[in-house]
């Protein structure tokens, strides 16, 4: 589904990703871990198409097409969803309205009929219920004045509404209480299907207890320096990143 | 009585530490202003003919100008005929060649002010030019500076020794008739400092000028010109004091800075002119025009000021950001207590592309002090991607003072991003409680909070000055920041 080949990307002239390779097949869940500043968020923003990040070389193929040619919204239409590490506040834009617009834009691109407000509200309510979430968030402006946890819940709500093909979760578990963590896991697990794939960026093995990853990668210095199965996450949790880096250097 | 009020009370009783008079025989021209006085000044200073012509031109323009009234200041009309426009210590008539020739009484004055001129006592790395009433009396570290190619001398000397530089730049940033006080200065300025840093040179030490007004009824009109050639760097410090006198004295200075491509000028001021007594009697009227031109790409001019003195302060150190990617900064702490009034701020003119400016202004008002921030941020049509951030905060100590904010923001380019924030409040009860809950006394808490309030500005000052500024703030707000 997703093939990232020797990807180099930079921002403001500073190289962040230095030859990253990653292949994700339909149905898989990949976890990416790695020290702060290693380029995890950069990778997710490059995948989502943030123009600020310049891809200097390498390629990204998504469902057989060159992803780098697509505008951010086109990528969303093709089923790419990113839950932001730091969702931005959009004062004055009502959350429900925003969700509705977003869903209809994607449905339209997929050739599905747009939902009217009644049907949309019905859908949102069912999602909220399935996720055990409060309706209060809907009435507010997008992320404005939301607590850290509320922002993350809002991201998950959006994900479950938009039903992406490839979901990228950038530290969606950070700053969450245990209930919220379960909500996130539930959102992800409900979405799990042989057609869909996920890329979960996290610092904590805890989340991976709820979401069983197929592959765990370690990103460091802008590259994936090690990949393994779930046990790698446990090992990282126990020993930190130092040992991998040392091991790298020794090799 | 709450803590803040008690501090104000204590402050009232605090004297002005620099308020002594030095008894020195001096050469002072009779009060009054006409073309003859200007000819006299020019002759006294052995100026070349072009300078006299330039002064007379400025004087004629000044006669047609009106004293500005827009500032948030109240003071009686200044009688320009009652001021003496020239006063020089007799012994310094011929500029001293070395410190040995400087009148020992003068040296003692500077020592009392904490500015030792004897080289062995001088803080390592600070070259000092001292201006006493109208003339520059001593410049230290000349040799070391000359070796680096840096010119640091009095402006009268520069007119004689470096006429081409003076003629090329004098009046180019602050034109003769820029404003009423600048025109007066152009006509009668008596001395000041000249600095030239050659291309690529990082000035090996901090340069510093101390100004002191000593004589009664004199005005001080100095003019400073600093040119930083391509890729050079200079940090310049300016300090001011005056004796305690009942009548008001006028200080109308002009400072021009020119930073060429990749050059940086850091200009710091600690202004502690005599503020007058607490009833508002006496004190310096400080009407100063300071402006810097970032003439070349990537040039940077940074103004930092700590204004605690003067009865009246009228001062807007500004930056013209002409070069692409040039940077202007203004950091200011202004304290008004007693009957002091300050109307101060800055102007940032964004002309070049990617120009950036930062304004941080901290006003502290106590007693009946009136403190106004007045600032202009202008983004011209061609100033692509210009950025400005302005933060203006006022702290009120006492219920009879005033704090005012008058920003003007003009934006004519959509790629610009301008942000302005201002707050006014007294010291927060929550903050005080928090500090006290951690065991601090009320006094220490206030001091800590006021210092914290000024921190963003103090951290911009060179080390030696930062210490002095903190001490000065402590004295100015005795008790409140003890």
């Amino acid at each position: 589904m997703l093939q990232v080949n020797d990807l180099h990307a930079s921002i403001n002239g500073k190289a962040i990703l230095n030859g990253l390779n990653l292949t994700i097949k339909p149905g898989e869940i990949h976890a990416i871990m790695g020290p702060n500043g290693s380029g995890k968020s950069t990778l997710s923003k490059v995948l989502a198409g943030r123009e600020e990040y310049v891809v200097t070389s390498g390629s990204i193929t998504y469902q057989g097409q060159n992803l780098l040619e697509l505008a951010p919204e086109e990528r969303a239409h093709q089923g790419i969803f990113m839950a932001f590490q730091y969702p931005v506040e959009i004062p004055g834009v009502n959350n429900t309205y925003f969700l509705h617009m977003s869903l209809n834009a994607i449905r339209k691109a997929r050739g599905e009929p747009e939902l009217n407000s009644v049907d949309f509200m019905r859908l949102v309510r069912s999602k909220l219920k399935a996720l055990n979430m409060d309706e209060g968030l809907l009435k507010r402006y997008v992320n404005t004045g939301f607590s850290g946890g509320e922002m993350k819940r809002n991201e998950i709500l959006q994900m479950s509404l938009l039903e992406p093909t490839l979901a990228i979760l950038d530290e969606t578990d950070s700053g969450l209480d245990i209930d919220a963590l379960k909500i996130v896991a539930k959102g992800v697990n409900t979405l799990r299907s042989p057609q869909r794939a996920m890329l979960v960026i996290t610092h904590y093995q805890r989340l991976l207890d709820y979401i069983q990853p197929d592959v765990v990668h370690v990103l460091s210095g802008g590259k994936i320096i090690r990949s393994g199965d779930k046990s790698l996450a446990l090992e990282l949790e126990a020993k930190g990143y130092g040992w991998i880096q040392d091991y790298q250097e020794a090799a | 009585m709450d803590a803040a009020q008690r501090h104000v009370e204590q402050m009232r009783q605090t004297g002005y530490a620099a308020g002594f008079v030095t008894s020195i025989e001096s050469d002072t021209v009779a009060p009054g202003l006409d073309e003859d006085v200007i000819r006299f000044i020019s002759a006294k200073k052995n100026e070349p003919a072009y300078m006299l012509e330039w002064r007379l031109q400025a004087y004629r323009k000044w006669l047609d100008m009106q004293e500005p009234e827009w500032a948030h200041l109240r003071y009686p009309r200044i009688d320009y005929q009652a001021i003496s426009y020239f006063s020089a210590p007799k012994s310094a008539k011929a500029a001293p060649k070395s410190l040995d020739e400087v009148d020992p009484e003068l040296l003692r004055t500077y020592e009392k002010l904490g500015i030792p001129l004897q080289e062995q006592k001088i803080l390592a790395g600070v070259a000092v030019d001292a201006v006493f009433d109208s003339v520059s009396v001593a410049t230290t570290f000349r040799k070391q500076l000359a070796d680096a190619g840096v010119i640091f001398c009095s402006i009268s000397e520069a007119m004689r020794e470096h006429p081409q530089l003076v003629q090329q730049y004098l009046g180019t940033v602050v034109p003769q008739a820029d404003n009423y006080f600048a025109a007066l200065n152009a006509a009668v300025f008596t001395d000041g400092t000249f600095v030239y840093i050659p291309p690529g040179v990082r000035c090996p030490m901090e340069l510093s000028t101390y100004f002191r007004i000593n004589e009664r009824n004199t005005g001080q009109f100095e003019r400073t010109l600093i040119i930083a050639d391509k890729g050079s760097y200079v940090s310049y410090l300016e300090g001011c004091t005056a004796p305690q006198r009942d009548e008001n004295q006028l200080h109308a200075a002009v400072v021009e800075l020119i930073a060429l491509e990749d050059a940086q000028i850091k200009y710091s001021t600690v202004q502690n002119w005599y503020p007058g007594d607490e009833t508002g009697k006496g004190g310096i009227y400080n009407f100063v025009t300071k402006r810097g031109l970032c003439a070349g790409d990537r040039a940077k001019i940074s103004w930092t000021q700590v204004e605690t003195g003067s009865a009246i302060t009228w001062k807007y150190p500004s930056c013209i950001l002409k070069g692409d990617d040039s940077v202007g900064e203004f950091y200011s702490v202004a304290v008004t207590r007693g009957a002091q009034q300050a109307d101060t701020g800055t102007k940032m003119f964004h002309i070049g592309k990617n120009t950036r400016s930062t304004i941080v202004s901290k006003g502290i008002s106590a007693d009946r002090g009136q403190n106004a921030y007045r600032g202009l941020v202008r983004i011209n049509r061609g100033a692509e991607n210009a950025r400005n951030h302005t933060q203006c905060d006022s702290l009120l100590l006492g219920d009879q003072c005033g704090a005012h904010t008058f920003p003007y923001i003009e934006v004519a380019n959509p790629t610009a991003k301008v942000e302005h924030e201002a707050t006014t409040s007294k010291i927060g009860e929550d903050q005080l409680f928090y500090c006290r809950q951690r065991g601090l006394s009320q006094e220490d808490a206030v001091s800590m909070i006021v210092n914290g309030f000024c921190k963003e500005v103090f951290k911009e000052l060179p080390m030696e000055f930062a210490v002095e500024a903190r001490k000065l703030l402590a004295i100015s707000l005795e008790g409140a920041v003890g």
Binding site: G49, R50, E51, E52, A71, P72, E73, R75, A76, H77, M82, F84, P87, V88, I90, P91, G92, V93, N94, F98, M101, S102, A105, I106, A109, Y141, V142, L162 | W70, R381, S394, L396, L397, G398, D399, C401, G402, A403, H404, T405, F406, P407, Y408, I409, E410, V411, A412, P414, T415, A416, K417, V418, E419, H420, E421, A422, T423, T424, S425, K426
Partner: protein, 439 residues
């Protein structure tokens, strides 16, 4: 016409008033006639006119509008109204009060009548209040409005009245003449503890060059609560000068939302002061300056008494070749301890040819106060744009959404849905038009 001629023209208009036999003249009108003879025309040198483009106001010698019969019909009102047909409604045509098209109250708690007749009947409240606020710090056009007072409208809400429905004030510009001067005048008195809302709209049914010089004085008695929403949606050749004066007594609440969309040139002045403590004033404003438009917002909130609060929140979007001015002044007098005053102004600049001049001022003479102001000028935030696009929303629509959201923070404070929806429609139309025009 050149400047001295224009000045002479208005002085003559005011002076002519003295030759008419007015038994209803009051002191302040005479004073205003005199003021017109003395006041200069607005000029750049005056601080409050520093940034205002003056030619649209001063290039033309506008002639007083005459009452044109049989031009405005009930159908027109039906089409323009924003409140239910049965609601109370005050209709003014080029500044003339038209009782026959208005919907006047029949119970005693609300009075709506012409100022002229109230003065003629010797109404003490009107005598005391008319011109009481507008006479201070006057400029020529304030004084001209008072000097040339015609019918005018007096709205009085009795103490304790709680109105469930808003009172609509509809100003219609429509004339066969051109270059005319309309001078609506309103006096609103809200009695002790009364609660009311006013929905005010300025609309044009013809596109002619005219100057609408309106003055409104509002008095809130102790504990009164007034919600006041104003939509200025006049034609693109109109010049609109609106001056609002508000005086609030103890514990009163006033909320004003002003939306400026129309007119080639508009300037709205808000003058607020307090006659009692513990009062709260909220001023919200939004201006959309399209191509060849200029909007001005002037605030003058004087905290002269302790314990009052004010929140002023203004936003603007500039497109095409346009200009906007925001001049917000908050003054806290020495007596006004425990004042809480907030002022904010945010601007989105969408075009290379737009210019914004903003001047948020605080003048504070008391220490136990909380005052702040914030100003921003910028383009649409790239982060926001990206966020929306990453959710599948196309670029143009995302821009539109952000602008709409930006404006909606103000529009949504009107508290009257049909007014808000009309404003949203106008906004959407203008944004779409600008998008097509490419900026």
């Amino acid at each position: 016409m050149n400047t001295p001629d224009i000045l002479h023209h208005y002085r003559q208009l005011a002076a002519d008033q003295t030759t008419m036999a007015h038994d209803w003249h009051n002191r302040r009108q005479l004073h205003a006639v005199m003021q017109v003879q003395e006041l200069p025309l607005p000029e750049r040198g005056q601080e409050s006119w520093r940034y205002t483009p003056l030619p649209p106001l001063l290039d033309t010698a506008f002639q007083p509008a005459a009452l044109e019969q049989d031009l405005l019909f009930a159908d027109d009102i039906e089409q323009l109204r924003l409140t239910p047909a049965a609601s109370l409604r005050i209709v003014l045509h080029n500044g003339f009060f038209l009782p026959e098209l208005s919907n006047l109250p029949d119970d005693g708690s609300i009075r709506i009548e012409s100022l002229r007749s109230a003065l003629a009947n010797g109404d003490k409240t009107v005598q005391a209040h008319l011109g009481e606020l507008s006479g201070e710090q006057s400029h020529l056009f304030h004084a001209l409005n008072t000097a040339m007072l015609g019918e005018g409208v007096y709205l009085h809400i009795a103490a304790g009245a709680q109105l469930a429905q808003p009172i609509e004030v509809l100003h219609v510009s429509l004339s066969f003449a051109s270059e005319y001067l309309a001078q609506p005048r309103l006096l609103v008195v809200v009695g002790e503890g009364a609660q009311a809302s006013i929905v005010e709209q300025y609309a044009s049914l013809a596109d002619v060059l005219c100057l609408n010089n309106t003055v409104t004085e509002i008095f809130l008695h102790a504990g009164a609560n007034l919600e006041h929403s104003r939509l200025q949606n006049e034609s693109l050749r109109t010049r609109h000068l609106a001056s609002l004066y508000v005086q609030q007594a103890e514990g009163s609440h006033y909320r004003n939302t002003t939306l400026a969309f129309g007119g080639a040139w508009s300037r709205t002045e808000f003058h607020v002061r307090f006659s009692g403590t513990g009062a709260n004033c909220r001023l919200n404003g939004f201006y959309l300056a399209g191509d060849k438009q200029s909007h001005d917002m002037h605030l003058n909130v004087v905290h002269n008494l302790p314990g009052c609060s004010s929140q002023s929140h203004f936003k603007g979007i500039l497109q095409g070749h346009s200009k906007a001015v925001f001049d917000g002044n908050i003054e806290v007098k020495p007596a006004a301890q425990k004042t809480d005053a907030r002022l904010s102004n945010a601007n989105l600049l969408l075009s290379r040819d737009a210019e914004i001049d903003t001047k948020p001022r605080l003048e504070i003479y008391a220490d136990d106060v909380q005052c702040s102001h914030g100003t921003t000028v910028g383009q649409i935030d790239e982060e926001m744009l990206f966020y929306l696009r990453s959710r599948g929303i196309p670029h143009a629509q995302a821009v539109n959404m952000i602008c709409t959201g930006f404006a909606d923070e103000v529009i949504g404070t009107c508290g009257w849905e049909s007014l808000e929806n009309l404003a949203r429609e106008v906004l959407a139309r203008q944004l779409a038009a600008a998008m097509v025009a490419g900026g």
